[in-house]
């Protein structure tokens, strides 16, 4: 059974929602980045979504873009990122680990080689932010060959035709957008209705994680009450990193305090 499946089953039995943090590997440095990840996991995160830094992350807002650029300024290679993930995998054997990246990073090294590396590093899922389902076939082929879950984004106004398509492709979980636009914490969240979530569930049996704009405990509670299986939280955490770049200890403490509050509200 896949790590995602096991994790979601366990949370279902406990009647709890999931908390999945998103951070960019290498921001602000690999060392600090590892400490942040350790803190998030030790605090009780249920899975990990890791961004692989890209120069032009157009599905992301300014907070995550800056995070990407900070990481890139360190000049780490893709191979290094894969090695770091491998270390995480050895340390956290059962934790689902997903990566989020942009298509050109995959193209430049070859699609097959990329998924092979993912499999070797113990990655469970891949989300390609600039590849819609319509362009996914070639990626899907190799993802399946190497047993990597392909994560797809479901817009908040998705029509039935798309939900149907999603049911044919999605694996692991469905990433439900809180609102249109890019990642970030400034924009207002469109309230997602229980009815819409029921509609997604009519077509898909996969768990649903809500992302984009999650920044407080009330939103997490609301999301789970509306029928999702949990939330993905990125910009709010990365905002703490950005605001405490020169004080690593404070940064980690603040991330711990913040994530603790959100994790508590999933129970």
């Amino acid at each position: 059974m896949s790590r995602y499946k096991k994790m979601f089953q366990r949370k279902n039995i406990l009647k709890e929602g999931c908390f999945v943090p998103f951070v960019v590997i290498g921001d602000p440095s690999l060392e600090t980045s590892m400490k942040i990840i350790d803190a998030l996991i030790e605090n009780g995160s249920d899975a990990l979504e890791l961004g692989i830094p890209f120069s032009d992350p157009l599905a992301d807002g300014p907070i995550i873009q800056k995070s990407n650029l900070r990481a890139l300024s360190n000049n780490y290679s893709m191979l290094k990122y894969f090695k770091i993930i491998q270390i995480l995998r050895e340390k956290y054997l059962n934790l689902p680990i997903g990566i989020l990246l942009y298509a050109n990073l995959i193209y430049s090294q070859g699609i097959e080689k990329f998924y092979q590396q993912c499999s070797k590093s113990g990655i469970d899922s891949v989300l390609i932010a600039d590849v819609p389902i319509e362009e996914y076939d070639i990626f899907y082929k190799y993802a399946n060959q190497f047993n990597i879950n392909s994560i797809f984004i479901c817009p908040p106004d998705a029509e039935e035709k798309f939900l149907n398509q999603l049911s044919l492709y999605a694996k692991g979980y469905i990433y439900l957008l809180s609102r249109p636009g890019v990642t970030g914490i400034k924009e207002k969240i469109v309230s997602i209705s229980n009815k819409f979530i029921e509609k997604i569930k009519k077509y898909n049996t996969l768990p649903i994680l809500q992302g984009f704009g999650i920044k407080n405990a009330a939103q997490v509670k609301k999301s789970i009450l509306s029928g999702t299986n949990g939330v993905i939280c990125g910009s709010a955490i990365i905002n703490i990193i950005e605001k405490n770049l020169n004080t690593e200890k404070d940064m980690i403490k603040k991330i711990k305090d913040f994530s603790f509050k959100l994790i508590k509200s999933t129970k």
């Binding site: 032009d56 807002g61 942009y102 636009g181």
Partner: protein, 395 residues
């Protein structure tokens, strides 16, 4: 399913966040319907003739070619209202936006020519308009920024990333992904996700149609070569389209900047690699890890790290040939055309002129006819050039 093929060979496609797919489908559907909508086409033609100034002339450069057997004609898009070919397609796209009931226009601009053209169309057709522009380009292109503002556009400085065109493109796409319900993204070149490369081509193809008719009238035969500069590639695809099935050499000129070996250039077709960026699969400037690299050109309008997918395809099938011209060569052509013909070309177009002159000088005794697309006028560039000349104590 798309109504039109989103690909040119293996290039093109729709590489955007899922959230934008319905917006692209809606755009495509409307684009297909206006292509056969007689009222739409009549209104657009009326604007092109009575507002923009089409057809533009085809000018023979007699002084420039003196002593050779080469005949160089310039397709005078510099004489179009707005001073560049950009006006053709913004009028088309603005009318398409109105057809789609979108009241707000988003655009990005590098040199400011597309921004100015967008501001013109929006002022004329009463559309609200915001234009993203890298803060470095705002500094480089002050007169165009003033023009845009004067015509009522909101110019938004982009400070993210390198602060140039590529960042403005990203920012405009981000804006569109939250506002597509009421706003229309007016891409400035024949690049980006499908259907943009086809839309821009459709609204620029009259350049080639007119040029063909004009050259047949003047020379009673087709030219040997069509030469056009290529940044994103809209003026080039505009003049190439009607000649693709003819026995005519199609030559695209990319900016070699400070030299292709310096890394400071904007020639992805000649020196880039295949990849995915800005919604499409095409050639792009990237490092070995797949990170997009900054491009460079003396001409901000050519300073783009990728190129429209149809050019990538024409290059791969060898139907068109892509060459590159350095900043220095372009500057020289800029000066020569000004001095010999009394026409100040845009630095973009100077690249195409430079290549025509290079071939003319290489084969002075060969009977050959070139059409060079003079995609824009050089008024916007005189500050850049005068600064360089001042430093060199030239002029």
């Amino acid at each position: 399913m798309t109504l039109l093929n989103p690909y040119f060979g293996e290039f093109g496609g729709m590489y955007v966040p899922q959230i934008l797919m319905p917006a692209l489908y809606e755009l495509e559907k409307n684009f297909v319907s206006i292509k056969t909508d007689k009222i739409f086409q009549k209104k657009l033609l009326h604007l092109l003739h009575n507002y923009a100034g089409r057809p533009t002339p085809l000018t023979l450069c007699k002084n420039l070619t003196n002593g050779t057997k080469t005949r160089i004609y310039l397709k005078r898009e510099d004489l179009l209202h707005g001073g560049a070919h950009k006006t053709n397609q913004v009028l088309g796209q603005a009318m398409l936006a109105i057809q789609m009931n979108k009241k707000e226009i988003i655009a990005e601009t590098g040199a400011g020519q597309h921004g100015v053209a967008t501001a013109i169309a929006c002022a004329l057709l009463n559309l609200k308009c915001r234009i993203y522009m890298g803060y470095k380009d705002i500094e480089r292109q002050k007169p165009n920024v003033f023009r845009m503002k004067l015509m009522g556009a909101k110019v938004i400085p982009v400070k993210n990333g390198s602060g140039t065109l590529k960042d403005a493109c990203n920012e405009a796409l981000r804006d569109w992904s939250s506002s597509y319900k009421y706003s229309y993204y007016m891409i400035g070149t024949a690049a980006g996700p499908h259907p943009y490369p086809r839309i821009v081509k459709e609204f620029q193809k009259m350049i080639g149609e007119e040029a063909k008719q004009q050259i047949l009238e003047k020379e009673k035969k087709l030219p040997d070569s069509i030469i056009a500069c290529v940044g994103g590639g809209s003026n080039a695809i505009g003049i190439f389209t009607d000649f693709i099935n003819e026995k005519v050499n199609l030559i695209g000129v990319e900016p070699a900047g400070k030299g292709v070996n310096t890394g400071k250039h904007g020639a992805p077709l000649s020196f880039g690699k295949k990849g995915v960026y800005f919604g499409m699969k095409s050639y792009l400037m990237q490092d070995k890890e797949g990170q997009i690299q900054k491009s460079w050109s003396i001409s901000a309008g050519l300073d783009f790290p990728s190129v429209g997918p149809e050019h990538a395809w024409l290059n791969s099938t060898k139907r068109a040939q892509y060459v590159s011209i350095t900043d220095e060569e372009a500057l020289e052509a800029f000066t020569i055309l000004s001095q010999k013909e009394g026409i100040i070309p845009a630095l973009e177009s100077s690249h195409a002129i430079a290549y025509a002159l290079k071939i003319m000088n290489l084969y002075p005794n060969k009977n050959q006819i070139f059409i060079v697309n003079l995609s824009g006028r050089g008024d916007k560039d005189i500050f850049t050039v005068s600064k360089i000349f001042k430093n060199r104590k030239q002029l």
